[in-house]
Point group: D2
Amino acid sequence: MIIVMHEDATEEQIAHVVARIEEVGATAHISHGERVTLVGAIGDREVLTGLPVEAFPGVERVVAVLKPYKLVSREFHPADTIIDVRGRRVGGNQFTLIAGPCSVETPGQIMQAAEAARDAGASMMRGGAFKPRTSPYAFQGLGREGLELLAEARERTGLPVVTELMDPRDLELVHEYADVIQIGARNMQNFQLLAEVGKAKRPVLLKRGAAATIEELLMAAEYVVKEGNREVILCERGIRTFETATRNTLDISAVPVIKLASHLPVVVDPSHSAGRLDLVLPLSLAAVVCGADGIIVETHPSPETALCDGPQSVPTRAFREYAAHVRELVEFVGKSIS
Amino acid sequence: MIIVMHEDATEEQIAHVVARIEEVGATAHISHGERVTLVGAIGDREVLTGLPVEAFPGVERVVAVLKPYKLVSREFHPADTIIDVRGRRVGGNQFTLIAGPCSVETPGQIMQAAEAARDAGASMMRGGAFKPRTSPYAFQGLGREGLELLAEARERTGLPVVTELMDPRDLELVHEYADVIQIGARNMQNFQLLAEVGKAKRPVLLKRGAAATIEELLMAAEYVVKEGNREVILCERGIRTFETATRNTLDISAVPVIKLASHLPVVVDPSHSAGRLDLVLPLSLAAVVCGADGIIVETHPSPETALCDGPQSVPTRAFREYAAHVRELVEFVGKSIS
Amino acid sequence: MIIVMHEDATEEQIAHVVARIEEVGATAHISHGERVTLVGAIGDREVLTGLPVEAFPGVERVVAVLKPYKLVSREFHPADTIIDVRGRRVGGNQFTLIAGPCSVETPGQIMQAAEAARDAGASMMRGGAFKPRTSPYAFQGLGREGLELLAEARERTGLPVVTELMDPRDLELVHEYADVIQIGARNMQNFQLLAEVGKAKRPVLLKRGAAATIEELLMAAEYVVKEGNREVILCERGIRTFETATRNTLDISAVPVIKLASHLPVVVDPSHSAGRLDLVLPLSLAAVVCGADGIIVETHPSPETALCDGPQSVPTRAFREYAAHVRELVEFVGKSIS
Amino acid sequence: MIIVMHEDATEEQIAHVVARIEEVGATAHISHGERVTLVGAIGDREVLTGLPVEAFPGVERVVAVLKPYKLVSREFHPADTIIDVRGRRVGGNQFTLIAGPCSVETPGQIMQAAEAARDAGASMMRGGAFKPRTSPYAFQGLGREGLELLAEARERTGLPVVTELMDPRDLELVHEYADVIQIGARNMQNFQLLAEVGKAKRPVLLKRGAAATIEELLMAAEYVVKEGNREVILCERGIRTFETATRNTLDISAVPVIKLASHLPVVVDPSHSAGRLDLVLPLSLAAVVCGADGIIVETHPSPETALCDGPQSVPTRAFREYAAHVRELVEFVGKSIS
């Protein structure tokens, strides 16, 4: 940690900073520049970041040198983490295509979607039984019944199930049905929930919050891994910006940035970022060439009657063609769909 | 709801949109412009917003006419909501000054802060027992012990307690100690939590998420009110932007915007928006003249040793002077501190 | 244009709105909803958008129905615009690879860069003689001398020259040397400059401003086309967001969004958006699969001594390999480098 | 400047960084931490910032220690700059109220606005003769004729004139009529224009760009001051964010941040930030209590027929009351309107 002192900082203030650093067992190095004095603090990261140095008199600002996460960093674990989900591998030279409707609505709907996903060669199926909705008047999901329908669809198609957990009180229930537990963007900093799934025996798909930096996403993943669950799949799904042509702005650069900084696999959600069908294929292709380990995409037998996210869902009748385009590019970059 | 058809939309596509609207019991009006056809849909708001019209062929975009919230709107309840917290009134011509440390750390610390708040004439005290922290390695709060210390401080000073709830499983516990339950910015769209406090018998202080629009804040409040709890205090605490000189960008315009749109009281958090002490007073004064119903501000007996938010905390020794400045302006605008 | 009246709007206020619309020669249609009245205004777009309807009493808000640009829209000109630059075609099934240093520094530097670009099969070369720099103390470009060096490099390599114009007073000079005149992101809304290049006889490469919406970019292009110059190449180069891992956030979705909305060709600048070398190749590939008509990328013989943008420049010694990767994907999507 | 080396950086890479720093005449200090090595570089600021250190092998990132501006900083010139405009002082304990229409439209309009401003006790008048408009089809200003009308209004009312310059070719013309030359938000980084007004003999009112950081605003001011013109008034007018309830988000914190960092006076534009009349007064009051040196506000005799910015203009008939509210608060904070 480097402490930049104010140009007018007194010798006394500098000495006070040094004293406080040494008090907590760290070492301080003073470096006098022409106009500004710097104090470098070396010691235990957690102790140092807990020190409110900006509150000390004469301090202009503090620059962190070490990254604020550890277990999820590539420095800590240089090799790619590869996760096995009922025999489907996520990460490495596999590309995971996860497809399904935004929410489970009816037995027919989820079965049709699951079969379309399987027929097109998808790796897993998605579908929400618990839905976070901006409006309290919108459809909130079928709950347990939805989970049961997902399990039936899994039985029929063999596709593992990715589904969202929103409330720690539902963990046991979701755990029973899900193969991968999804934490949605709105819950990326629901730290209790993160700690709970960190103790669970299921891989976690963690979506980036709409206003979260990449560093904050990695720190959220650190919450999970710290509790013992090392199987975390990160998901870029668009961030909130001033642009209104898309629902969110897909931060495609996040894919290579995360792959450089972390060993965890990364998937892209082209549906929620775009919010419109005509962008889903190009964004999916961008994910492939940027090094993503997979895509999580919405498909629905009848987008016109969908209770959620109809406008961005690939109709199941068009899904095979969509998947063929994706597969062709996946193979071009030397991977295969898992 | 107005549906703007694509310039190339066919008569068949227009007819299909009309048919779908009528199917759900609403009425459709077609209006042909020179280049574009509009379809107006009149009917039950919830039914109409549930219809994925953007997914219909030929639809360019959909414009909502009605606001997506109801119970919290000023049209629904024109008079200001005034909330009574152990005899302190929030709203109307009262100004609520809530002060205390970011987190409860020790018996001495919370007592000193509470006494400084009371001596300076504050209305309530704040202090976190459960703390949402970006890093899993940061101090996470004292939990139940913190709540007990808050209760002791309340006993000593007479100041009602505002404290945060993060997990629905802690509701009963927090309910027992808190006079006002705070929902933090990161949980503004934790809809399960909102529904739970909507059933509680305590006023709720709901903080705006760092990337939430004002409309989304009002919809989050609607979640609470819909469950029966009409005592919601909204809180503007800064939004995430590209500017890095401050921790967040205080959206001071949100105060008059919310007062025009809703009957609920609004308070401002100058500490979290600024992230630095030297801005806390000017931002507090801005809140007063923009019509806020109160301020929630951080004060700490020793910011230099604070476990959380030290850099932005008003030292308790300076709090009386800070409060005197605020009070003077509160009285100038014709209100009094409750 | 649709005018949404306030819920409390009086009949008199509605009549006033209608009267004002009819006064300017347009037609008004009133539509009474259960709670809200709408007034639809049909007439000349420019006349209607000039009317400050939001300032009329009783008006809640105004919704534009027609797009605010015309000449650049795909509705106006359905076929792709293809631009010929000294025999190199931009648009259609050609992919334009523009490469070169951020700024022209020395004869050796620009010649080496140009030769590396040519040897790798690039379509055109870039290089700034006039540089917009955030700091007044940074290198501001060589001016006329830089233009002359570009002309020499063109002579040697046969590559057409793309170079920036910042000041209308330099138009004649830049016109003499440039094959494509670049308007930088900071000048996207320098409307005098846009009007001047609209009268020029050179294609224009117009970069999106860091805080400009796609719609505003198209309106800036409309300024150019309106003056008679239909040869405009749009450029996505990243937008300003809260994320700090990259210099800007590349809005890759902008490529398909613009291709749907406009007939103009679109290129992507992976260098300025990323601000770091390790992202340049993946972002370039993303541009290819999202349908971009080209890339404008920075290469420098010695990034370590570059006066500008060294950290994101591909070293010329690595450029051939970079270009080979891009070409391979360009051919995979069925295009060829022009 | 502090260079943070990558955790895997070799000794050779560190030595190379040191060598390059010493090559340009600066001094390097190496500091080995447990996991990361830092290199501190001390020397001429301009030389160091010109070095593309991020491009050197093994470098993780670079942290600037010194501020990138000098002449405009409070360290360089601790006392407030006070500017005299025809006897009206800007800065210090004066508060400057600048009022007038967005654009000069007709002789009657500008005269009425000027008289209303004078009658209400305003310090100066504003009005645009050259207008930057997002759409090429919108009213672009009266040009020279507008400047002449402003001069007549000044003659009649005695109020100095603030008006915008957009094109360096119009400098002489605007110089002849204006008492303060305004540089609009879209031109904040039009560096040629900044350099030109830096040589002019008129105070400059420099508006913050909608996506500019405070630091970038100060660097733009540095461009002007570096050329010799020390009379720069900074203007906060709202930044672009995701919030759509207001046209821009007024960054009220910018006022105290700038006052701490710079000696230049700061004014606030409540009209452009809000984009709606009902917020203009509260935002004006916020400016006063946050320490702004003035307000630049729009007033129009007939907002309903205004060619520009009608929805946010205070009608002249209501301007006296508006100004009375502002004055009352100005006097409360111990200043007087100049």
